[in-house]
Point group: C2
Chain length 465, copies 2
Amino acid sequence: MLQEKIIDEFASIVSRENVITDQTSLLAYSYNATPLQQQMPAAVIAPRSTEEVSEIVKICHREKIPIIARGSGTNLSGGTTPIDRSIIIVFKHMNKILEIDEENLTLTTQPGVYTKDIFDASVSVGLFYPPDPGSMHVSQIGGNLSENSGGLRGLKYGVTRDYVLGLTVVLPNGDIIKTGGKLAKDVAGYDLTSLLVGSEGTLGIITEAILKLIPKPETKKTMLALFDDLEAAAQTVSDIIAAKITPATLEFLDQATVQVVEDYVNIGLPVDARVVLLIEQDGTEKIVNQDIEKISKICKTNGAFKIDIAKTIEEGEALLEARRAAVPALSRLKPTTFLEDATVPRSKLAEMVKAIEHIAEKYDVTICTFGHAGDGNLHPTCPTDARDEEEMARVKQAFEEIFEKAVALGGTITGEHGIGTSKLPYLHLKVGEEGISAMRSIKQALDPNNIMNPGKIFTFNGRGE
Amino acid sequence: MLQEKIIDEFASIVSRENVITDQTSLLAYSYNATPLQQQMPAAVIAPRSTEEVSEIVKICHREKIPIIARGSGTNLSGGTTPIDRSIIIVFKHMNKILEIDEENLTLTTQPGVYTKDIFDASVSVGLFYPPDPGSMHVSQIGGNLSENSGGLRGLKYGVTRDYVLGLTVVLPNGDIIKTGGKLAKDVAGYDLTSLLVGSEGTLGIITEAILKLIPKPETKKTMLALFDDLEAAAQTVSDIIAAKITPATLEFLDQATVQVVEDYVNIGLPVDARVVLLIEQDGTEKIVNQDIEKISKICKTNGAFKIDIAKTIEEGEALLEARRAAVPALSRLKPTTFLEDATVPRSKLAEMVKAIEHIAEKYDVTICTFGHAGDGNLHPTCPTDARDEEEMARVKQAFEEIFEKAVALGGTITGEHGIGTSKLPYLHLKVGEEGISAMRSIKQALDPNNIMNPGKIFTFNGRGE
């Protein structure tokens, strides 16, 4: 618990009604979307400006109080879970899109805005923000994420980071800095924008972001290709790329996932296929038609037993929405859902999927796999029960082996979700002890008191956090 | 000078013929493409592998010997100039493209390879490496660059950083780390790839890079649009973007630059225009034709007095080569050439060009301006004579004012070339003292002995380097 006089100090900055300390409310903030509950925070604070964030951080710096910046708590790796005596900063008052600049193709936003609203605001002026509109806050771009880095549109449009031009950041000492700007190019000193995006809130708090928009594609078309053979589906993905086609979306769903999703959404998804590829192309009408035709041919050549092209944009949207429903659908099966994020070079996709199946069998656990095939980014997902210690031990072993396999194939332990606490034990597999040591020294330099989201990504200075 | 026994130690790693210490040879390495000569290095060393680089760095770490990694010395901000007692690492033996992976669309290369060769190797298999093929070494991607970040193709294709997927890096303590991989997505810990790219050799030495390739555009078309009015040309740039067209190239040349280039290349460039826009679009034939037609209309609407569409790809290439000749052409005018790199939001282009003209007049110096209009990236260039101290003082004042103006317009002091030594005094204008302090603390954490390219980007620990 924090001393009453410190709580008073916070209240004098943000006003009393923006400092929550009652236990019932705090309980809601002891979780994020990761299965395991963490400790209780000491207070939840809702600042109204960058300056207020800075004042709060200065107190925390002085008093060595841990700070966790939180969007809507959708993190999947424990990135926003608190520890004892920490405060949580929420952005419910800093929730405005500040500007859309149609001349420079930028959007400036506060951290408490949903990605979907950024997407909609862009589309309303004929522009396009490519990172997939989930329910994530912008705060997660840098405050606590990693996540949503590309999502369904990663293959053609890249990752969230590619669309962040500049940030306003409150550093661990309370300093306010601005990185970048409305600029296509900027190489004035170290790239602090990239360092902050994906630092999972361990280096500073992002209070404003300038995002890059692009022209909205003219039209789009969506299709499903059904396979009864895993290799054939993976070969199809490779052949599409080899044909120099870059679809906007190229998703992979295994049979188990399709079944679960269909049970949830009831839109007539094909539950008889071993693998479903969900493919979308956007651009000019001619390009879209041409590409969808070429892709259909490649699917047929590789033995797809059915190809379904959505007749309307709405029908296509429904397929994408079904895909986005995979996580909630899978979460209904069992009390606990472990959603993972192993990523491999695209050419290793089939090998990785087979390895996951083999590992699931070996440890006798259920794993449904879906993901962004075009990016080599898979989400093996295990519906389980955290109360069953024996099964949890097997789940843990299975995922360890999945991570090891991904890295052995030249991949990584997380393509989108970040390290947080849940993948902290495996980071060394990917970056080595030397890599962790380099990262830790950067953390130590910018945050010597270890107040910014301590205990995430790696442990620090022997406090075991 | 270094002790003989340390030179012997270096020689025992890379063999004697790869350690140069004679004064005549060293003199060549006391310069880069920046006007002013620096001090003499103590030795020039040519390692043959990452492991050899690591061994050399370990000695330098122990003996506190400064190290400068150098490509072909084309840096324009003093990024590769040595200081006393330093060694220079050159990559003449580490000059191979190691692999092109057509399945994953990646190219793996050593640092001593020219960008042009990477471009050519990619094209030979139907792929495309977008950063403009100048004469820059890959080592400049991270060892000493910033530079070549997008160049003529920045608007559509982004900057060099967007095409660097992973690096092998020797850290200042001699540790070898690998960042990233052949992956579309990777968020395992801090983004060390971005931090290293553009760190100008101050955080580590890049010994290998995995680059991202994209499908080669089907065709392209090039055009010139001539204006006798600056605002009209700038408005044209804005209108092209507003029409949701993203040209591959959108270059700006003022009359003085066109005149100088034509004197040099003699291909009949239009020397009668106040401003020339050089525009190229690539893609499918239909898109290219459509876009070039739309762009032509926009140019005419804004009062272009002539529009010239290249009849062949070769003719278009000649125009681009002429544009690339701007720097050598301008360098012929006077003994010294100051080439700058101010960048502003695209919408501020006209205002910035006018400010440059006004400042040139105020300080009575010649400034020719050309640059990447689509990126808001301008290269005001001053042919002068470093021996004329009085004129040099005026040149310095003029550029200071240009930097201040760029930042005041929401821009930056360098869009491509980096800070090096020549822009070190102005970094605070862009990132503030708080930003410099954050950068310095990262440098100090990774390189406590300050051996990696000391004295570049910012000063450090009171040694005045």
